[in-house]
C-alpha cells in the first residue's frame, strides 16, 4: 500500500511538472501569437499605406498625362481650325475666338477624351479610371474698342480631370486642375482694321500651367 502510494505521488508530481511545463509553453506561445498578431496588423497597415501612396502617385501621374494629352488635342484643333473626334469633339479655334465676343460665349465643361493616356496606362499599369478632361474658359480679356492694341486678346483655360485608383478598396481618387493662358496672335494689318476673324489669327496655348490644384 505504501509503495503504491509513493508511486502514485511520484506520478502525480511528474504530471504536475509536465502540466506546468505545458502551461509555460502554452503561455509563451500565446504571448508570441499576440506579438505576431500585432506585427501582422502593423504590417497590414503599412501595406495599405504603401498601396495608398503608390496608388496616389499613379493617379497623379495619370492625371498629369491626361492633361498634357488634352493640351496636344487643343493645340491641334486650334492650328487646324477643326474638331478632331473622338478625342476632341469641338473646334477650339472657333470656341476660343467666340470667347472675345462676350462672357456669355465662354465654353464651360467641354470634354476632351484622353485616348492615348487611357490606352497606355491600361496596358502598363492596370485599370485606372481616367475620366474625360473638362475644359472651361474662366477669364478673358480683349481691349475695348478705340484703344490701341497694347495687349493681345487673351484668356485663361481651366482643365480638370478626375482619376480613380486601380484598387477599389483603397478608394484613391483625385481631381487635378490646371490653368493655362491662351492668347491670340494678331497680325498688324488685321489689328489695324480691328476686324478679327478666326481664320486670320493664330492661337497660342502655353504648355506650362499657371498653377496646379489637387483635390
Amino acid at each position: 500500500m505504501i509503495r503504491q502510494t509513493r508511486g502514485e505521488s511520484e506520478r502525480s508530481r511528474c504530471r504536475a511538472a509536465l502540466g506546468s511545463l505545458l502551461a509555460i509553453v502554452l503561455l509563451l506561445c500565446l504571448v508570441l501569437a499576440i506579438l505576431g498578431m500585432g506585427s501582422l496588423v502593423q504590417s497590414t497597415g503599412t501595406g495599405r499605406t504603401y498601396s495608398r501612396v503608390v496608388d496616389t502617385r499613379l493617379v497623379l501621374e495619370a492625371a498629369d498625362a491626361a492633361l498634357s494629352e488634352a493640351v496636344v488635342h487643343l493645340r491641334r484643333s486650334m492650328d487646324e481650325n477643326k474638331a478632331r473626334p473622338p478625342a476632341c469633339p469641338d473646334n477650339w479655334r472657333q470656341l476660343l475666338f467666340d470667347v472675345f465676343r462676350g462672357p456669355e460665349h465662354r465654353p464651360s465643361d467641354r470634354t476632351i477624351v484622353p485616348v492615348r493616356t487611357r490606352a497606355i496606362f491600361e496596358a502598363e499599369v492596370g485599370p485606372l479610371l481616367i475620366d474625360n478632361v473638362l475644359v472651361s474658359v474662366v477669364g478673358a480679356y480683349v481691349e475695348p474698342p478705340g484703344l490701341f492694341l497694347r495687349y493681345p486678346p487673351q484668356g485663361v483655360l481651366e482643365m480638370s480631370v478626375t482619376v480613380r485608383g486601380a484598387q477599389k478598396v483603397l478608394q484613391v481618387g483625385k481631381t487635378v486642375r490646371q490653368r493655362r493662358i491662351f492668347y491670340l496672335l494678331v497680325r498688324r494689318e488685321v489689328a489695324a482694321r480691328r476686324t478679327l476673324r478666326s481664320d486670320s489669327t493664330r492661337f497660342t496655348l502655353l504648355s506650362d500651367p499657371l498653377g496646379t490644384v489637387v483635390e
Binding site: L28, G38, Y151, I181, V214
Partner: protein, 211 residues
C-alpha cells in the same frame, strides 16, 4: 532504507526523458523567441516605413501645387530644416497663393516631428504635426540642373522608432529616406503682354523660416 532511497531518486530513464523533454522545450522556446524578435523588428521597420510614406505623400502633393508670385524672384524660402512656399488655390477668376511652411517641432528629447502650417483666409494658421514619424534628421535642399535649367527639391529625413526614445540615430531603429521632387516651372509669368489674363494674388507674405 535501500528501498526508500531507490524509490525516492530518479531513475536513469526518467532523467533522460526529462532531459530530452527539457531540451526539446528549450529549442522550441529559442526558435519561438528568435521568430518573435524577427517579427518585432519587422513590425518596427513597418512602423518606420509607414511614417515615412505619410510624410512623402504630403510633400509630393504640396510641391505639385507650388505657386509662383510673378513679383518675386524666388518661389520659395529654404533653410536646412524649413521650407516656406505658396500653395495654389483657384477662385472664380483669380489665382490665389496661400503661404505654407514645413518646419521642425522639437519633441523634448533631441528629436523632432515635421509640422505643416498653412495660413488660411482670415490669417488663421492651420498646423498639422505629423506625430506618426519621429525624426532624428530632416533636411531640405535645392538641386539645380545646369543643362536643362530644371530645379529640384530634395528632402532627406531619418525616421526613428518612437517606442525607444533613448535611441539616438541608431542604425537598427531608424530608416533614412530621400525624396527628390521637380519644382514646377512658372508659365511665362514675366511676360508683360500677358498681364490682363488673370490676377495672381498672394494672400500674405511667405511664412518666415523657423529657427
Amino acid at each position: 532504507m535501500k528501498e526508500r532511497s531507490g524509490s525516492d531518486a530518479f531513475t536513469l530513464v526518467e532523467t533522460i526523458v526529462v532531459a530530452v523533454l527539457g531540451f526539446s522545450v528549450l529549442s522550441v522556446m529559442m526558435g519561438l523567441w528568435s521568430g518573435g524578435s524577427r517579427m518585432s523588428r519587422a513590425a518596427e521597420g513597418s512602423s518606420l516605413l509607414q511614417g515615412a510614406l505619410v510624410l512623402e505623400d504630403v510633400l509630393i502633393r504640396d510641391v505639385r501645387q507650388l505657386g509662383h508670385d510673378p513679383r518675386r524672384r524666388e518661389s520659395f524660402l529654404l533653410s536646412d530644416g524649413c521650407l516656406s512656399f505658396y500653395r495654389t488655390v483657384f477662385t472664380k477668376n483669380d489665382i490665389r497663393l496661400r503661404p505654407v511652411r514645413f518646419s521642425r517641432v522639437n519633441d523634448g528629447h533631441g528629436n523632432f516631428y515635421l509640422n505643416r502650417a498653412e495660413l488660411l483666409p482670415g490669417k488663421k494658421l492651420q498646423e498639422n504635426i505629423f506625430r506618426q514619424a519621429l525624426l532624428s534628421q530632416c533636411r531640405f535642399s535645392l538641386i539645380q540642373d545646369r543643362f536643362s535649367g530644371n530645379r529640384y527639391l530634395r528632402f532627406e529625413f531619418t525616421v526613428i522608432d518612437r517606442s525607444n526614445e533613448k535611441v539616438r540615430k541608431a542604425s537598427d531603429s531608424s530608416s533614412t529616406h530621400s525624396l527628390v521632387l521637380r519644382i514646377p516651372t512658372p508659365s511665362d509669368l514675366g511676360n508683360p503682354a500677358l498681364k490682363p489674363a488673370t490676377r495672381i494674388l498672394p494672400e500674405a507674405d511667405f511664412l518666415p523660416l523657423a529657427l
